[in-house]
Amino acid sequence: MLEFYLNDQLVRPTQPAGSTLLDFIRYQQHLTGTKIGCREGDCGACTVLVGELQPDEQTVRYQSMTSCLTPLGNAHGRHIVTVEGIGPTEARNLTPVQQTIVAEGGTQCGFCTPGFVMSLTGHCLGGAASAEATRAAIDGNICRCTGYKSLERAADKLAAQLLERDAAPARLEWLIAQGFVPGYFAHMPAKLAQLRAATAADVAAQTGGRTPDAAELPASWLLGGGTDLLVQRPDEVLAAEVNLLYGHATRCYVRELPNGQVALGGATTVEDLRRSELMQRHFPQLARHLKLVSSTPIRNMATVAGNFVNASPIGDLTIFFLALGTELMLQDAAGQQRTLPLRQLYRGYKQLDRRPDEQIAEIRFSPPAAGEVFNFEKVSKRTHLDIASVNSAARLRVASGVVQAAHLSAGGVGPTPLYLGQASAYLIGKELTSDTLRGLNEVAQQEISPISDARGAAEYKRLLLRQLLYAHFMEHFPQHVSLAALV
């Protein structure tokens, strides 16, 4: 049975698991503070907080998500917070987030405003007390009126207040006392723990005490974050029998294997990846690279495996992982596993080497070793929260000016995400010079087949790929190549 907390109320929806949380909130619960702007996760007007009980069962982690792309089923066992659920509080009529937005003139027509309020409230609950991090919390909220300067000022003021939060002995108590959230938030861990226990009992009754393996789930739709599927095919998702991958906490992990490889659970989100200290250690530029990937609420929802299986020719994470020699552990309905290199997954536009009942159980790759460098490049019409015109990743080892190893990938230049095998091979053993890179480009141009579309003309994409290939080397080996010598 689907049940969760919506603000301070326990709800048990009877709507399909694949219907949207947004419609349930607005049209079943009549909470109209959550607005409909685009239904594709691109405006943030429908942002809500999704609270998930942590393994310690003492705390709840709140993340902002766009309710238009959140399948109702993904709310199960969680605490969903809308703008109606944060105030008025015992402490005051407007929360500090709301007061600050009012004081800075951060609202004009007001339609996007509740989304901003929720993103910032979510940040106050768990985010870092820096201006940069606080502004980043609203990077998925579009405002067409204000020009954002007033909202930036509001975010900066809140960041300063969060320093006090961090100095307080207990965060949540401080936040409640200051009126950021109402007092009922203090009881949510216990309430969600009850729900968790009830779910476990429910499952045990059905399965005789075993935790069901994903393989036992009926081979219907397996939905991860839903951030693209619910944009492309919402009606089909609504009508289908949907199983939800997201939120199976045991399947969200980033861990080091004994052989030095890194393994990601099949339900790991982009935000899990971004926050992982292991990933940050292996990829010093990770924060900069992932800032180019969608927006905070979408990163909170979208899974790495979903990005692979969605098979968009321009998937940012797919391009990122293609250059890393990533392997997929596929598991079928019978529990049989097989290993498939990511670069062999794609057979044609949205065609996968994958049977319908197979799902990605784990993702493994060897992180860049000592002496190796990694780079990710992306250019889009708008730098952030946009889909790339072309993206590319590179894993390189250069010693004494000679290329020892090279793995290059590129998106937006063919029907599938591309591993540039010939271009990569071309580089091996070559001295790293401008001539070599021009030669590299000539090989790469043979491997790609871009088309003209809303993201750019084919001619532009060819040129842009060349520039991004050069950029990999200019980022890491500026002593060997220069722009003037290249173009």
């Binding site: 607005k35 405006c43 004009q108 609203i138 067409r144 009126c145 019409k381 889909i387 842009l464």
Partner: protein, 771 residues
């Protein structure tokens, strides 16, 4: 004063169209729109849709009881297609069903039998084929034909500016329900309630008095809900009228994007003549406006392009001609600036090209030609209380423009991977509806017996803070606290025959009407006070709710005075009418005095281009703006920041793409990008020009809605200047928006000689012909 709506907004309590609780029995509507851009409509197959679950009825043109016509300026736009279809997304039928998903599912089952006809998407092609919405217009000043002989330099070229999607975050929508005696009440997300009422009456074939249109507020408008809110309001009204049931129609984003018109794309030719000392002597310009398939507001937009064709410069000899070209795109419409920005982009392009050819900076040409007091615009009106020079000089002083340019040059000397560009964008924008008759407004003010006040006007609140400004006007005029005053919804039964909330003039027109009504009420109350207290009326005033004589309090206050007035049977309500004085325009001679006043400003914009990737960052915008005596500086600053960013978006990333078959390619928020938090310049400085304000502006606080959008044009030229810092041999075509694609293509344009391997120097390159 904060925006009075803000507290409701942050709590999610403010009510928008889709938040209105639905009545029992409400039907939900979905629009079936033309799948082709042009063709003969031979018939519709509705059977499958009619048999779909929940479907109650499907309305087509044949069901319209009155006239199938919603054209505002020219009667050329049917509500539902009849005989022909003229653009993809043109409404053909309305499905009414029990739920919204049912209505939308059924609409997909409709098939239209359409015989395709040739599709035109290019305004110049339309012009060549004689497809004009209205006859062309020409503004003339001096004798341009004779002036060319005196010019030391003559520059010719072409400039293109793209369309712009409004992207109000609340999509279009309406909710209509039947009232007694065959009437209809319509809640509409419209900037023009009267337009919805008038066209509703026309389509239903009933009197306007039987249609009531009510607007609480809009989740953004920007011109996109001026005339283009009408079809949805009238369709909902039609359903409610025919079925005698409530009907709700809210466009899903995808439908809104493909069915509604946008800012007009323009293609223009210019010829600019300068003297040896860089004075602009002659300007000839021809504008080809892409109007789309029906007139909508295009003729008025076209006119404002002509009014602003010389921006803030004095040019003694001008000939400006404009063609409104009919194409098979959705009818383009009002968008903040209303054709003005399109005109200004062309003169700025001409100046930039002249600067390139002559090896001077564009800002030198701009500065030497700014309007002076008494200079004549190409439509005969003199520049009065002209602040063009004052804004420029204040900007030079406040932002040290000279040193700034030197810093940019020094950066460009030392950097090869990044190049910077600085551009100055002075603006001048006329305030008033250019259709003189529309410069009228009314206000209805009630003082209740407890001293509280309710005000109705024709102004629609859409985030611009007009309600807050109305409260400010009433509070100052009556001498009472603002928390006693409430602004009611905009409703056609309380204030009739309104002009739309547009042309930046809403606060001026409605504010003046509120002021007049409140002055009448105050006068009446003070006469009563004088009478009751047996003192002279002269010197009596109400200030902070106290009654003062010669500055000293007397034995009365606001509440007592109001109560006394009621018992004395004195009228505590007032309905006032305001019409802007002095404005007129004669279309026969294309001359007159169309504007109550002008707003001026000067912005400086810096951009940095990544020479390798072709991407760019807008680093800083510092501007001086002529607010007059701002009555609400917080709100006005927000209008400038928001308008600026919208203008920057139009000039940089917002790219509307249609294919040759008239299909919108940028048809989602993932393909049409508006500025996000990170694309806004980190450094935005706004200086308020110190002036006395203008007497025709409400409380001397100048209109502020549209003018700042045009600062965004500076963003285009800043990026272009940065490209030229990297490639002085390249002269990118004047084509906005300047997307990363265009930037990279320009940066990597073939070099004249084979493979030069040195970094280009900053020397002035010979003028390469552009477009």
């Amino acid at each position: 004063m904060h925006n009075l709506d803000a507290a409701g907004h942050v709590r999610g309590e403010s009510q928008y169209l889709d938040d209105i609780p639905v009545q029992r029995g409400t039907l939900h509507a979905a629009v079936y729109a033309s799948p082709l851009a042009h063709g003969k409509l031979n018939g519709l197959r509705l059977e499958a849709a009619l048999a779909a679950p929940g479907v109650v009825r499907i309305l087509t043109a044949a069901d319209i009881p009155g006239e199938n016509q919603i054209g505002g300026i020219v009667p050329d736009e049917p509500l539902l297609a009849e005989g022909h279809v003229h653009f993809r997304g043109q409404p053909v039928a309305l499905v009414l069903a029990e739920t919204e998903p049912q209505a939308r599912a059924a609409a997909k089952l409709i098939e239209a039998d359409i015989e395709p006809l040739p599709v035109i998407t290019d305004p110049r092609v339309a012009h060549a084929q004689g497809e004009l919405i209205v006859p062309p217009r020409t503004f003339r000043l001096g004798a341009p034909a004779a002036a060319w002989a005196q010019c030391a330099h003559i520059i010719e070229g072409t400039a293109e500016s793209g369309g712009q999607e409004h992207l109000y975050i609340e999509t279009q929508g309406a909710y209509a329900y039947p009232t007694e005696q065959g009437g209809v009440r319509v809640h509409s997300s419209t900037q023009g309630p009267t337009a919805a009422q008038r066209h509703g009456a026309r389509v239903l074939g009933i009197g306007m008095h039987r249609i009531e249109v009510d607007v609480v507020r809009l989740g953004g408008g920007f011109g996109g809900k001026e005339d283009q809110a009408t079809p949805w309001a009238v369709l909902a009204a039609l359903g409610a009228y025919l079925l005698r049931k409530p009907v709700k129609l809210v466009l899903p984003r995808h439908d809104d994007l493909r069915m509604t018109g946008k800012r007009h794309p323009y293609s223009s030719d210019y010829k600019l003549g300068l003297s040896a000392d860089l004075k602009l002597l002659a300007y000839e310009v021809t504008f080809y406006q892409n109007a789309g398939a029906a007139a909508d507001l295009s003729p008025a937009v076209l006119e404002r392009t002509l009014f602003h064709s010389t921006n803030t410069y004095f040019i003694p000899n001008v000939q400006a001609t404009a063609y409104s070209c009919r194409t098979n795109l959705p009818p383009n419409t009002a968008f903040r600036g209303f054709g003005g920005p399109q005109g200004m982009f062309v003169i700025e392009s001409a100046i930039a090209k002249a600067a390139e050819k002559l090896g001077v900076s564009a800002s030198e040409i701009q500065r030497r030609n700014l309007l002076q007091e008494g200079d004549t615009f190409p439509f005969g009106q003199p520049a009065e209380l002209c602040n063009a020079h004052a804004c420029w000089q204040r900007a030079e002083q406040a932002f040290d423009l000279g040193s700034w340019q030197q810093e940019v040059d020094a950066f460009n000397q030392s950097s090869t991977l990044h190049k910077r560009g600085l551009a100055i964008m002075p603006i001048c924008f006329g305030i008033s509806f250019t259709k003189t008759a529309m410069n009228q407004a009314r206000a209805l003010v009630h003082i209740y017996t407890d001293g509280s006040v309710g005000i109705s006007t024709g102004a629609v609140e859409m985030g611009q803070g007009v309600n807050t400004k109305m409260v400010e006007v009433a509070a100052r005029t009556l001498g009472i606290r603002s928390n006693r005053i409430r602004i009611e919804t905009t409703n056609t039964t309380r204030v009739a025959n309104t002009s739309p909330s547009a042309a930046s003039a809403t606060a001026d027109l409605n504010g003046k009407a509120v002021q007049l009504a409140c002055e009448q009420l105050r006068k009446r109350l003070l006469a009563l006070a004088a009478d009751e207290l047996c003192i002279a009326e002269e010197g009596l005033e109400i200030c902070d709710e106290r009654v003062l004589t010669a500055g000293h309090p007397v034995e009365s206050d606001w509440e007592k005075l109001v109560a006394a007035a009621y018992w004395k049977r004195i009228n505590l309500s007032e309905h006032a009418h305001y019409a802007t004085p002095d404005v007129w325009f004669d279309q026969k001679t294309e001359s007159g005095y169309p504007f109550a006043y002008h707003v001026y400003g000067t912005a400086a914009v810096q951009a940095t281009v990544d020479v390798l990737r072709g991407t760019y960052v807008l680093d800083a915008v510092r501007l001086v703006h002529d607010f007059g005596q701002s009555m609400a500086p917080g709100i006005d600053r927000g209008q400038v920041e928001g308008g600026l960013v919208q203008g920057l978006g139009w000039m940089t990333m917002e790219e509307l793409l249609y294919d040759e078959q008239g299909r919108l390619l940028s048809n989602t928020l993932s393909t049409y990008k508006v500025p996000d938090l990170y694309s806004v310049p980190a450094d935005v400085q706004i200086e308020f020009l110190e002036t006395e304000g203008h007497p025709r502006a409400i409380l001397r606080s100048k209109a502020v809605g549209e003018p700042p959008l045009m600062y965004g044009i500076g963003g285009y030229f800043a990026v272009r200047n940065a490209i030229r810092a990297a490639r002085p041999d390249v002269a990118p075509a004047f084509s906005a928006p300047i997307t990363p694609e265009k930037v990279l293509m320009a940066l990597c344009a073939p070099r004249p000689e084979a493979a030069p391997s040195t970094v280009p120097t900053a020397a002035v390159a010979p003028n390469a012909a552009s477009a």
